[in-house]
Every structure is written in structure tokens, then in C-alpha cells.
Amino acid sequence: MPEAGVPVGYFFAVSTLLFSLGVFGALRRTNPVAILMSIELMLNAVNINFVAFSRHLGAADPVRGPMFAIFVITVAAAEVSLGLAIVLALLRRRRSADVNEFDALKG
């Protein structure tokens, strides 16, 4: 039982469920913005893992887990901005919000 009083498995369960919900959304939502949001959920799940594992293990260097999470957050922010730019650029040409409508490239 860690100091926080919550077993690491609980955190893992939450993160797994969060991750799976993200997967579900990413596969189910057709709006690219919504897909992006779902992917953010997945990244958050990953971060819970990093922090929880770091705390639980108390590995040689306790900085690593949170550090990884910080980088993930940073990257995620960049990713969102770029992704939204792509979506906007596309939407400017076509007023469809269904990611599956874009299928000029196939085969």
C-alpha cells in the first residue's frame, strides 16, 4: 500500500479504462476534432501510468516518471495545435466534418 493509500493497480485500472474509452472514441467519432479529443484522453491515461508507476516503484530516479509525463503533455499540446490547423485548413475547402468523407486517396 503506497503512501497515498491507493494501490497502484487502481490507478492502472483507471488509466486502462480511460485509454480504452479514448480508443473507443477515436474509432467511433467521425469528427476529426472529436477524434483528437479522444486521443488526448489516451495520452492522459498514459500520463497517469507514468506518475503512478513512478510513485509506486520509487525507482532509482523518481524524476523519470513525471518527467516523461511533462514531455507527453508538451508534445500533446503541439500535436493538438498542428492537428487543428490541418482540420481547419481542410474544412476551409470542404464543409464536411466527417473524417471518412476524405477519401480521394484510396486503393
Binding site: P2, E3, A4, G5, V6, G9, F11, F12, V14, T16, L17, L18, F19, S20, L21, G22, V23, F24, G25, R28, R29, T30, N31, V33, A34, M37, S38, E40, N47, I48, V51, A52, F53, S54, R55, H56, L57, G58, A59, P62, V63, P66, M67, A69, I70, F71, T74, V75, A76, A77, A78, S81, L84, A85, L88, A89, R92, A97, D98, N100
Partner: protein, 172 residues
């Protein structure tokens, strides 16, 4: 009373429900607002785990910056999800009526990952300790200096990319 555990369950309930609404809510604005709640919930987990600084960053970056950008985009684009029914097979498999396949995949993933966790023993190391802001900052500027610098390049790249792509054709 094990307060951390209570807090954990509360946070878990809020976070997972919000996440669920993000995934299923037809109205994109609502979904975005639920996402903000989920972000805050995750920040709560960080706090619970003693990573206060991270919780702060989470709220700042996610609930603040990311949410702003998301909402702006939604406002700008006036997106409404269109759910056609006469769709080819692959799209039908992903459409809400047939949402069974994504759901099954997600459920399968969750089940398999949880089973994996249950079936393996984690290293039983000594109990970890929360990491202070100073320690983190020092590490960021020493050990993780290169990734830190690279991350800044990355942000620059993303910014350049975003600008270039949002500029209309012919604008320079």
C-alpha cells in the same frame, strides 16, 4: 476512513464519466466541456500521487491552453457531426449503429490489459517519494536538457506547420 481512497474513487468516477461523455456526446461543444472536466480529474490524480507540479501543468496546459484552442476551432468551424447511413462497409462498422466493433475492440483492449496487469507482478521496489518542483526543474535543465531543447524545436515545428497549413494558398 481512507481519505485518499475516497478521493480516488471520486476522481475516478468523475474522470471516467466525463471521458465517456466526451466519447458519446453528439454535441461537440458538450464533449469539449466534458473533456475539460476529465483533464481536471486527471490533474486530481496527479495531486493524489503527490505530483503537485504536474497537476498544475496539467490544468494550465490542458484545461487552459488546449481547451482554448479546441473551443476556438469548434467555434470557427461550426462542425456538426453528420452520420450518414448509406455508407460502405468499413464506415458502417464504425458508425454508431454498428458501433459494436469499436466498442468490442476497446473493451477487448481494456480486458486484455487488465488481465495482463493482474497476471504479472510488478517490481516490488522501495516506496517512491513525491518529487518536488525544484528537483524536477534541475533535472530538466541538466539530465533532460537535450529533450527539453528538442521539445522547444518541436513546438516551433508544430507552430510553423500550423501557420503554413492555415495560411490560404497564395498567401505568403
Amino acid at each position: 476512513m481512507n481519505w485518499p481512497l475516497v478521493a480516488f474513487f471520486f476522481l475516478a468516477g468523475v474522470t471516467l464519466y466525463s471521458a465517456y461523455r466526451v466519447v458519446v456526446d453528439e454535441t461537440i461543444t458538450h464533449a469539449a466541456l466534458y473533456l475539460a472536466i476529465a483533464f481536471v480529474g486527471v490533474a486530481g490524480f496527479y495531486a493524489l500521487l503527490g505530483a503537485d507540479f504536474l497537476a498544475f501543468v496539467q490544468v494550465l496546459v490542458y484545461a487552459g491552453a488546449v481547451m482554448t484552442v479546441l473551443l476556438f476551432t469548434i467555434m470557427l468551424s461550426d462542425i456538426r457531426e453528420v452520420r450518414g447511413l448509406k455508407l460502405p462497409l468499413f464506415r458502417r462498422l464504425t458508425s454508431p449503429r454498428w458501433g459494436a466493433v469499436p466498442a468490442a475492440l476497446a473493451a477487448g483492449l481494456a480486458a486484455l490489459l487488465l488481465a495482463a496487469f493482474a497476471g504479472s507482478a510488478l517490481l516490488a521496489g522501495p516506496e517512491g517519494r513525491p518529487v518536488g518542483l525544484g528537483e524536477l526543474a534541475r533535472a530538466l535543465l541538466t539530465t533532460y536538457l537535450v529533450p527539453f531543447e528538442v521539445a522547444s524545436v518541436l513546438l516551433l515545428a508544430a507552430m510553423v506547420g500550423a501557420i503554413v497549413l492555415s495560411k490560404g494558398e497564395g498567401e505568403r
